[in-house]
């Protein structure tokens, strides 16, 4: 839910947002400047352009999170209307979202792996919103995973409930059991995340919950295994099909 007094902007969140958005834009401007003044050798230019595109896509992702948050805050108790009538093909959306993080993943030796890209599980809803869910989850995973590890996306149908389960797991620091109760709240960041990267909006998982639960009537949960240092974000949909 949005903050109780949603008529007032959350200034701290806005300050964090400014920090988050300036970082990639600073990188884009700097790279373009380097390309103009010849500071990048020719053999590295293509990769730097790809990284620049990824930084811009990242910036748009952050802006979209803020837009979703703002729109919802402006209409308390009522969800802004979206077109939820389209087919969301899960493997396709996972791959599209993963592509946005290819370059930042490479820089940390992190790969996103969809274990079953062939089974075309689908739900009805908004592909754009569902893609944003995966982007937010991958953003966290690529930022906070141990370097050189893999982010895995597993899809399966739970035998007992017949629900479609999508599990995204990564290895690295997670959150305490106490924090797991608030990790989907707006503006909340785990203490371990703050040790690695000082600033963040704390909006990503909140937006995920809103999109999955409020718009698509699914469920989202997060768990952390200290034994295996594995963070798992689990999405659950009772209505699904194979296309």
């Amino acid at each position: 839910m949005p903050p109780e007094d949603s008529s007032l902007p959350d200034l701290r969140l806005l300050a964090n947002f400014v920090h988050q958005i300036v970082n990639p834009l600073n990188g884009v401007i700097g790279t373009v400047d380097n390309l103009i003044d010849g500071s990048v050798p020719s053999e590295k230019r293509e990769q730097r352009l790809r990284a620049t595109r990824a930084q811009l896509e990242f910036a748009v992702m952050i802006v979209r999170n803020l837009a979703y948050f703002t729109e919802q805050s402006l209409t308390p108790g009522k969800l802004p209307q979206r077109d939820l009538s389209k087919t969301c093909v899960i493997p396709q959306l996972v791959i599209e979202a993963a592509l946005f993080f290819q370059e930042s993943g490479i820089s940390r030796g992190i790969k996103i792996e969809l274990t079953d890209p062939r089974t075309q599980y689908a739900i009805t809803g908004s592909p754009e919103l569902i893609r944003q869910v995966f982007m937010n989850i991958f953003d966290n995973a690529v930022k906070y995973s141990d370097a050189g590890t893999e982010v895995t996306v597993k899809t399966h149908v739970q035998k007992k409930t017949k629900n479609l389960i999508i599990e995204i797991s990564n290895i690295g620091p997670g959150f305490t059991s106490e924090e797991s109760r608030t990790i989907f709240d707006p503006g909340v960041r785990g203490s371990e995340a703050r040790k690695l990267i000082a600033s963040g909006t704390g909006l990503g998982l909140y937006i995920c919950k809103m999109i999955v639960e409020d718009y698509h009537k699914g469920e989202v949960e997060a768990e952390y295994s200290r034994a295996t240092r594995t963070v798992t974000i689990r999405l659950r949909f009772s209505k699904w099909r194979i296309v």
């Binding site: 300050a15 400014v18 300036v22 990188g27 401007i29 700097g30 400047d33 990048v40 730097r48």
Partner: protein, 149 residues
């Protein structure tokens, strides 16, 4: 104060999101400099205990690891901008003010005041060309030659 070994060809960059600073690493490489990246205050200070760098560039918003003992006796400004601890340490350990640059997304008059006291350069993030020009200027003369003259 003991003189540390000098790394005249290396810049210390204290930033927790170096992926977004690839442009700066490329630029320094084009000027034939190496870069050591420290992603939190504690690591940056460990690096500063090892040697004297050609220049030290620090993001003001980088993590300070628990137990945050470096904040003991410090004001709230250091708590708000932990990167100031890197600048302060560098200034008190073998680095001249001209060798140290701090930058932030936010333009804070209190930081400006402290940066002036420390004699370090304070830049706003989002203007990469200014950062490039500043580092080029810093690298254009040898601070040791100047301080020893």
């Amino acid at each position: 104060m003991n003189e540390l070994p000098r790394k005249e060809d290396t810049i210390l960059l204290a930033d927790d999101e170096p992926y977004h600073l690839q442009f700066f690493l490329d630029y320094l490489e084009s000027l034939k400099y190496k870069t050591v990246v420290a992603d939190n205050v504690d690591n940056a200070i460990l690096r500063l205990q090892e040697c004297r760098f050609r220049a030290v560039i620090a993001d003001l918003s980088i993590p300070l690891l628990p137990p945050q003992s470096l904040l003991t006796g410090r004001g709230t400004l250091f708590q708000k901008y932990p990167g100031l601890l890197v600048a302060d340490y560098a200034r008190n350990h073998n680095h001249t003010g001209r060798q140290v640059v701090v930058y932030s997304v936010h333009d804070d008059p209190q930081v400006r005041e402290l940066a002036a006291k420390l004699g370090v350069t304070y830049l706003l993030k989002g203007r990469p060309r200014i950062l490039k020009e500043e580092i080029k200027d810093i690298l254009s003369f040898d601070p040791l030659a100047k301080s020893e003259s």
